[in-house]
Amino acid sequence: MKIIDLTALSLAIFLTVFSFLSAISIRSDSLEILIQAGDKEWIYPIDSQISKVFEGPVGETVVNISSGIVSVSESDCSEKICIQSGSIHSGGQWIACMPNRVFVTIRGKKEGELDGEAY
């Protein structure tokens, strides 16, 4: 084994371990957006670019997700509290449109999602 052989081997081992550690950590710090409307649920990754209409008892509520920021831009409810509550971007925050039964939360990914299932 010569000097670059050893360096190459260490580099390969380092990258293997690094990829292992980052595969674990991707799981724990990535956020996802949970939207509940009626008795259904939708899930999107935090980095999605999406604008979607959700139906509720009062009418339609439009949820926008863009560059990690989530907001309600239109809603058929009377109070419009959901629109006024502005945008959310970090875990645990939520927006609710009570009259139309639309509930938007940012949450961490479910724990243990990959444990033992990855391979």
Binding site: I3, A8, L15
Partner: protein, 173 residues
């Protein structure tokens, strides 16, 4: 004085050896369907010692085309993935091999080549097939690649030291 050996013919021969080794590789059990040990890269390590750059690239082309013809995947994603991985890996191996031999042996060449090829294949399969979540298979993929490329490099070093065949080619290329 021994007569010269046709480089194209030697390239084809090494290509045939690549196909033979990939046939042998199918005999090993594979943990995941896509996982390759890469023993078919052994002739490319020999080629680094024997042939100039254009012939090495030709050998890679012959290897992947031959493998594609046998497995029938010549006209599919599989072929493109293996082409991208194999060419990257061969170019890295060639560059590393240019470093004076007092610093590096075929072991380092083999490890770095496999690493580069595997990373390219991982990126492609995440982008086009499996999605972001496939990064979880990266550690297993890289670990197997590291171990097998180390052993293949080691084998190549020992083989070249002992081989009458390699010796018979010396000075005739």
């Amino acid at each position: 004085m021994a007569k010269l050996i046709n480089k194209i013919e030697l390239t084809s021969f090494l290509g045939g050896l690549c196909l033979f080794l990939s046939a042998i590789e199918y005999l090993f059990p594979r943990p995941v369907p896509f996982m390759r040990l890469g023993i078919a890269n052994l002739p490319i390590l020999f080629a680094l010692k024997l042939l100039p750059f254009p012939y090495i690239m030709l050998l890679v082309l012959l290897k992947i085309t031959g493998q594609g013809l046998i497995s029938g995947t010549l006209a599919s994603y599989v072929f493109l993935f293996s082409a991208a991985g194999s060419f990257t890996s061969a170019m890295v191996m060639y560059s590393v091999h240019k470093i004076p031999s007092k610093w590096v042996s075929l072991i380092g060449v083999s490890i770095l080549g496999a690493l580069a090829g595997n990373i390219v294949q991982l990126i492609l399969s995440v982008k086009f097939i499996f999605g972001e979540s496939a990064w979880v298979i990266a550690p297993l993929f890289l670990a197997i690649g590291t171990i097998s490329s180390f052993l293949i490099g080691l084998f190549a070093v020992k083989f070249i030291k002992r081989s009458q065949w390699i010796f018979s080619l010396e000075g005739r290329l």
